[in-house]
């Protein structure tokens, strides 16, 4: 397979997978096999692109010319490669987890669920490999629309209201700001291609640069920069696998990926640091970063707490881009991967806790660690990565972000990063502490309840006290927790990949 066909195959496979899932909807086992096989195949194909990209190739594919100069086209560069790897790589554990979760939980409309999931991955890959702003925007909107049925999965009033917030914010910002910014860019430069060193330098100056940057950043509602962050907590009504992959990985990372990509390949970091047009964004991102952390403290619902933590962590990535230094961009790119692995673990844990004990709130989780030691140990590892402690991957991305701030002589943001790390200890560690060190509230009904129906694969064996979620839930979350540690040791490889980015023209 040539790299060109590999790019096409990678993007097309999830779409074919969606069709396959729809066709096999009547036979759940076959349908789930299609999901898993597709996920594995997509990841394999994406992985096969890595050596070429590392060697400096930019495999691409032009599908068709939509308008003169505006094409539906793909090109794989390091940042997109990384995002593509993260999205498709984490699809595999999520697919397994979702199967376990949906069956244990007796979800309805599972076929629609898995079809939309595959479509979302299709859209995410389209974003990752987009060669120009048009293609990116096309798949950006496709991602919003394909995940709407997932957010509103339960179909009740709460889900419908959440769906309105979700579509309302994401469509409003993208149509009103992002599209305007794209058309404006086209008018100024006559091109929409992502180019090394950016395309705007010399075409626009003065305060207009900052305005245009603002349109891009706030137009990318998926990056959840305040005040356009409300959709993310609202979307938590979705089933947990959706929150895990989409609202910790594919969708939100699509947002920050877009922001970083625009900063690097449309504005160019040299142009931004010369004009100082992104300084306001550093402060805006820092505000979101700290404010979201503080809000996370007030949330007792575990998923809501994680959602605000995500908002805060996304702001790290935006901040790294706004610093407009090479190290900052690398830190952002690494954080896309590190945060994804950490946060998906935490969401998996939240879902496993919910499946096994039907508990949603942190305050109810006293002593839970004795019943679910694997889940909560994984939660601990994931938290370490989010906080940024070695030996987990999050340590490196935070290191490079801080280094980027220092290099750009923006020392105040080094302080912001450190304070925020402390805050994240404050809102994540109590979960683990309560679970392991506090005595469980006595609830005989809860304790006598047998777990692990559904697949009939409970974790049995060593202590009768243990009542974990089904194996298909627990195994993926242990795997991603291990992944957090593995990433600590593979950080240089990720950095190596990102250093292949052509930052100046």
């Amino acid at each position: 397979m040539t790299p060109e066909t590999a790019v096409g195959t990678a993007v097309l496979l999830p779409l074919l997978g969606a069709v396959g899932i729809a066709l096999t909807g009547r036979w759940p086992n076959l349908r789930e096999s299609v999901t898993v096989v597709t996920a594995l195949a997509v990841f394999g194909v994406v992985l096969s692109l890595v050596p070429g990209v590392l060697a400096g190739d930019r495999p691409g594919l032009t599908v068709l010319d939509v308008m003169p100069g505006v094409a539906l086209a793909f090109e794989v560069e390091p940042l997109g490669m990384l995002y593509g790897l993260v999205a498709t790589g984490l699809w595999i554990p999520t697919a397994l987890y979702a199967i376990g979760y949906c069956r244990a939980h007796g979800e309805e409309n599972q076929t629609r669920f898995f079809v939309c999931f595959a479509l979302a991955i299709f859209a995410a890959l389209g974003i990752a490999f987009a060669r120009n702003l048009f293609t990116l925007f096309l798949f950006y909107e496709a991602l919003t629309l394909s995940t709407y049925p997932l957010v509103t999965h339960y179909g009740n009033d709460e889900a419908r209201a959440a769906g309105r917030t979700y579509l309302g914010i994401l469509l409003t910002t993208s149509i009103l700001f992002l599209l305007l910014a794209i058309i404006w860019t086209w008018k100024l430069t006559g091109t929409l291609e992502f180019s090394p060193g950016g395309i705007l330098a010399g075409r626009v100056d003065g305060p207009l640069v900052a305005v245009l940057l603002g349109l891009y950043v706030f137009g990318t509602g998926k990056a959840a920069l305040m005040p356009f962050h409300r959709w993310l907590p609202a979307a938590m009504v979705a089933p947990t696998p959706v929150s895990a992959l989409l609202h910790a990985v594919a969708i939100v990372k699509a947002g920050v990926f877009t922001v970083v990509k625009v900063i690097v390949y449309i504005f160019g970091i040299d142009f931004l640091s010369e004009t100082g047009a992104s300084i306001w964004l550093m402060y805006a991102a820092s505000f979101t970063l700290l404010a979201a952390s503080l809000i996370a403290f007030t949330k007792d619902n575990l998923k809501a707490r994680l959602a605000y933590s995500t908002i805060s962590q996304l702001a790290y990535i935006v901040l790294g881009g706004a610093l407009a230094t090479a190290t900052g961009v690398f830190g952002s790119g690494m954080h896309i991967a590190m945060h994804a692995m950490g946060k998906i673990t935490l969401f998996f844990c939240a879902g496993a806790i919910f499946v096994a004990s039907h508990k949603k709130n942190v305050s109810e989780m006293d002593g839970l660690g004795r019943r679910m030691p694997f889940t909560l140990a994984a939660f601990f590892v994931g938290s370490m990565s989010i906080i940024g402690l070695p030996p987990t991957g999050g340590a490196w991305s935070k290191w490079y972000l801080a280094l980027g701030a220092a290099e750009g002589h923006h020392l105040v943001f080094v302080g912001v990063l450190m304070v925020s790390s402390l805050l994240s200890i404050g809102y994540l560690m109590p979960v683990v502490g309560r679970a392991f060190f506090l005595a469980p509230s006595s609830d005989p009904v809860e304790n006598s309840k047998s777990e692990g129906d559904g697949l009939g694969l409970p974790v049995k064996g060593f202590w009768s006290k243990i009542h974990e979620a089904p194996l298909l839930c627990v195994a993926p979350l242990c795997a991603t927790a291990a992944g957090c540690v593995v990433l600590f040791f593979y950080a240089p490889d990720i950095l190596g990949l990102l250093q292949g980015m052509r930052l100046s023209g």
Binding site: L64, V66, M67, L72, F134, L171, I175, L176, L179, K187
Partner: protein, 491 residues
């Protein structure tokens, strides 16, 4: 044969209309009408192809040379509009007639097809002719048959709707006739090309100054441009859905064409945009149409009326493109003719499909329809996304050019406005989507999809909104050439 194509374009459907009455049998008439509509499309496509390769075609009807005789003149602009009208006609006419929506019994369906073909002939005639008075004649042919078609709706409201359309349409037609008369008085000619030559010397006279007012207002009534749109919501609501589909996709488009022809072809852009300053009137009214139409659509409880108000907003986009009067703006306005024809034609066909299974076009009656008719409702979602202007649909292409046109003129606020108004479309489209997919029906639903004969035409138009959203070579390409032709010819 080939050199007579312009004449055949109108003669074929015109002659076919009485033949329908002779044939009588509903099934025969339907097959015959389909054949006629498809040959009209073939002719229109052949004409477009000829124009694009060899340039403007001039055809003297009956061999009488212009300016005395009637000239059929096909250039890029009207060849493009001919294709729009003929395409919609060809796709909509095979759509099966549903007794639940029609006032007449099956034995008299031949009358429906006869009227339909007459309307098609009239619309094609308006578009193809190069003679101002002839435009009026064809306008009356198409309008009279349209009134009757609307009146065929089963609901009693159809009669009053048709009547008020008749009153408004007649006023519009009369205005056009008065305008025509005034310029004939000053120039002694009715041929458009000849007029463009003879008008400039007498442009300062008061008579000539009044004529464009009558012509513009007259065509604006036919176009349902805000605030002259009152006839439209009722007409589209009470007409049989298939008729609404055809008229919404063609009648207003042809009126827009006439307006463009009057402005650019007869008086010249300089006269309208510099001397009179039409933009300062048309631009705010277009913006108002976009907002008022959308806001009204949001409040409707009847899906056909909702789509009708949405049409008023969409017509605002077209006139906005016209008022920008630059290359990108005009391209946007013109390409929206085709794009809106596809989406609104398709959406009204969706309603027609739905009405074959549910009793009323009230939104409440659509509850649970997402489960009952998944294919039909998926078509609605795609069409709705196109109304919003999601990338990958035709709505995006129109918006792209319009925003670009506004930015070219430095009208940043207008650009923002265009995008903001598409968010209103999100609201009215999603209201319907929520009802279809989230609200449970009062009775248990079982899958009961519309027949294939209905789904195929619907999906041809809806699929077109995606296909032409990604491949704009034909639509935006031709619209761009036409806009260039108009602006180049005017300067």
């Amino acid at each position: 044969m080939n050199e007579h194509l312009p004449a055949l374009q109108t003669v074929v459907p015109m002659m076919a209309a009485p033949i329908c009455i002779l044939l009588r049998r509903a099934s025969w008439v339907r097959v015959f009408a389909v054949a006629v509509a498809w040959s009209c499309l073939a002719i229109a496509l052949a004409l477009l192809e000829q124009v694009l390769t060899h340039g403007t075609i001039s055809y003297a009807l009956g061999g009488w040379a212009a300016p005395l005789g009637i000239e059929y003149r096909v250039d890029v602009l009207n060849a493009y509009v001919l294709v729009i009208v003929a395409t919609i006609g060809a796709v909509v006419i095979p759509f099966p007639l549903d007794g639940r929506e029609l006032r007449i019994p099956r034995e008299r369906y031949y009358l429906f097809y006869s009227l339909f073909l007459l309307c098609l002939a009239g619309l094609l005639g308006i578009t193809i002719t190069g003679d101002l008075f002839n435009i009026f004649v064809f306008l009356e042919i198409s309008s009279l048959s349209a009134y009757a078609l609307i009146g065929l709706g089963r609901d009693r409201g159809a009669l009053t709707a048709a009547f008020s359309y008749l009153v408004m349409g007649t006023i519009g037609g009369t205005f056009i006739l008065i305008g025509t008369g005034l310029i004939y008085q000053m120039t002694g000619t009715l041929n458009i090309v000849d007029l463009a030559r003879r008008l400039p010397p007498v442009l300062e006279s008061r008579t000539v100054w009044i004529a464009p007012a009558f012509l513009v207002v007259g065509t604006s009534i036919k176009l349902a441009a805000f605030p002259l749109h009152q006839w439209l919501p009722n007409a589209y609501t009470f007409a049989p859905s298939m008729v609404s589909s055809f008229l919404s996709a063609t009648a207003t488009k042809v009126a827009y064409y006439v307006l463009v022809r009057v402005i650019f072809g007869i008086f010249g852009a300089a006269f309208f945009f510099e001397t009179i300053g039409l933009s300062s009137l048309l631009l705010p009214l277009s913006l108002a149409a976009m907002v008022v139409g959308s806001l009204a659509a949001i409040q409707q409880t009847n899906i056909k009326r909702l789509l009708a108000y949405s049409s008023i907003a969409q017509i605002g986009y077209m006139t906005l493109g016209l008022s920008l009067a630059n290359l990108n703006g005009l391209t946007g306005g013109l390409v929206h003719l085709f794009n809106h024809a596809l989406m609104k034609g398709g959406l009204f066909l969706v309603v027609a499909c739905a009405l074959s299974r549910v009793a009323s076009p009230d939104l409440e009656a659509l509850r649970g329809l997402g489960r009952k008719m998944p294919l039909t409702m998926a078509a609605f979602v795609v069409g709705g996304l196109s109304l919003i202007g999601v990338p990958g649909t035709v709505g995006f292409v129109s918006k792209w050019f319009l925003v670009l046109g506004a930015l070219d003129k430095g009208l940043y606020l207008v650009a923002f406005f265009i995008l903001a108004s598409s968010l209103l479309a999100v609201v009215y489209v999603w209201r319907v989507v929520e009802i279809m997919y989230f609200r449970e029906s009062a009775v248990p639903v079982e899958r009961d999809e519309a027949p294939l004969s209905m789904l195929v035409p619907t999906w041809i138009l809806i699929g077109g909104t995606v296909y032409f959203g990604l491949n704009t070579e034909l639509t935006a390409g031709v619209a761009h050439t036409a806009a260039q032709f108009l602006l180049g010819g005017a300067s």
